[in-house]
């Protein structure tokens, strides 16, 4: 008889799996119920958005950037517009800055509430899913009222915003904010005091302070581990510098930082409250004036076409920092380069320390706790003669050496 050795098993989940909302491939090394090692494979929803963008004019790209992500449909075009404004030295009017804050924070509320509902659904608490999504419906109603559409808002323009908030719109905003404040208490009570949530989320999927720093996590994921990182505070854009924003870390409520799923729930709920207050303040303090620096779009397009330069736009999306980089060569209308780094990309690696040592049943809630958005993340897939492959380190090194030789010739 051969000797029976202790062995681990492999459990592949994805790319398409009922537990996953978007295509991503996990390879788990398991010993019984315990996860020993994790590998994540991306690249299943690559849509060549940057490639498409490099063949369009700057105005058309706004609407393309809006479609990178359905939930961050304000933050992506905002980062893009800020990159173009940076590259071409366009000053945004002050009122437009405040309007951008209002729309950005409305989107943050919608996104965090959506996430809270999904998290509740992942642990099997579906009544809370409906409670949070009822609130989210109100946010979407307000967004539709202000921008004309629920999801793809089409509100941004290079150098401003396209639609103003009129005085007659303010009562409805105030009314909805009151509704949120009232319901926020109910929601935070359910999420933070309920035994079911505590059982599943406390001590689960821990990301330590050191790991969060080392792996460059962003957004609520990193703030839950105690890292004070928020673009709105670090490098204030739009009107955030006037509005007194602070880092939301879980110790504001519980007095301690554990970096587990529970802390990530706390951070997101605190941010919902912060966003409600920010909108209230922004609406009150909003100055009068123009909302666009250049209302004549052909003139704007012409100006961008003649300008050579590169720009960068950093924004705090609901999931963390999003960066858009753009370069114009001054000859063509189309950008020379357009690069997007969505926030989930930085939050993929933290999955590995989070998932190690957890049980299989915790995979979905731990993975969901970073609020992953796969479609935003997939950027590079190489297709050569209809064959799709990814490059590893050796191949990349080889390519790099080849390029050096080619340039030396």
């Amino acid at each position: 008889m051969s000797q029976i050795t202790k062995t681990t098993y492999q459990l592949p989940i994805g790319p398409i799996h009922p537990a996953l909302k978007e295509p991503v491939m996990f390879k788990f090394e398991i010993d019984g119920e315990k996860i020993i090692a994790v590998d994540v494979e991306l690249g299943h929803v690559h849509r060549a958005i940057e490639w498409t963008g490099m063949r369009r004019n700057p105005i058309q790209i706004i609407y393309l950037a809006e479609r990178i992500c359905g939930i961050c449909s304000f933050v992506h075009p905002m980062a893009y517009c800020r990159a173009v404004e940076n590259a071409c030295n366009i000053q945004v009017p002050e009122r437009a800055d405040y309007l951008r804050v209002v729309h950005g924070e409305l989107e943050r509320i919608a996104s965090h509430l959506l996430w809270a509902g999904v998290a509740a659904h992942e642990i099997g608490f579906d009544t809370v899913l409906f409670l949070t999504w009822e609130m989210r419906e109100k946010v979407l109603d307000l967004i539709e009222y202000l921008t004309g559409n629920r999801v793809t808002k089409a509100i941004l323009m290079i150098g401003g915003v396209r639609r103003d908030i009129k005085p007659e719109n303010i009562p409805k905003i105030k009314e909805t904010l009151e509704y949120f404040k009232e319901n926020y208490k109910k929601l935070s009570h359910v999420f933070l005091d309920d035994k079911t949530f505590k059982m599943r989320s406390q001590g689960c999927g821990i990301l330590t302070y050191e790991d969060a720093l080392r792996l460059c996590a962003v957004g609520p994921t990193t703030r839950a581990s105690g890292v004070k990182k928020d673009v709105r505070v670090d490098q204030p854009y739009a009107a955030y510098s006037d509005l007194d924003v602070d880092y939301m870390t879980p110790d504001k409520r519980t007095g301690e930082i554990n970096g587990d799923v529970y802390d990530r729930i706390i951070v997101r709920l605190l941010e919902v409250k912060q966003s409600i207050e920010l909108i209230e303040r922004a609406v009150d303090q909003m100055p009068t004036g123009d909302i666009m620096s250049e209302p004549k779009i052909p003139k704007l397009l012409n100006y961008i076409k003649k300008t050579a330069g590169e720009g960068i736009g950093r924004d705090e999306a609901p999931r963390g920092e999003v960066i858009h980089y753009i370069k114009f060569d001054g000859v063509n209308e189309q950008p020379f380069t357009w690069k997007v780094r969505a926030s989930t990309y930085a939050n993929i690696l933290p999955w590995i320390p989070m998932l190690k040592g957890q049980q299989i049943a915790d995979i979905s809630i731990v993975a969901a706790s970073t609020d992953p958005c796969m479609s935003c993340t997939n950027r590079v897939t190489i297709i050569d003669k209809n064959k799709k492959y990814m490059l590893d380190k050796e191949q990349l090194h080889k390519l790099s050496v080849e390029k050096t030789r080619r340039l030396m010739r």
Binding site: R56, N57, I59, Q60, I61, I62, Y63, L64, F125, T127, V128, F130, L131, E134, E137, E144, Y145, T147, G148, N149, T152, A154, R162, R163, K186, H189, V190, D193, D194, K195, T196, I297, P298, L301
Partner: protein, 133 residues
Amino acid sequence: MRFSMLGPVFKQMFKKPWTNKFPAKYQPNNTTKYLADVASGKIKINPPVPTPDGFRGKIKYDKEKCIGCKLCIKVCPCNAIEFKENEKKIKVYLARCCFCSQCNDICPVSCLSMSDEFLLSDADPYSKDLIVE
């Protein structure tokens, strides 16, 4: 707290449903017959939730005003607009339109506008209802 959701759940049981039953309260036995009846005016449909001001629906095009400057074609993000060379007028394919209303903003003579019509689904993307000219 173990049953923090119990209160909201009980309240929910006695609330009126949020869903607006559009276009019919219950699924008709025969959809084709139902639609025919609606068309002939025998039955009235349940009205939809009203759209807000500034809603971006089907594009309206004022052909007389159009000067054929092609600016809308230049900014359209999804190439939904076609230029008719002999007439010097445009043709909008709504099946491709993303309803951003950028063409409305750029039009120098304001011949384009957004209506509040949103029932635009069709089996054929090139049907007559989905082409504005």
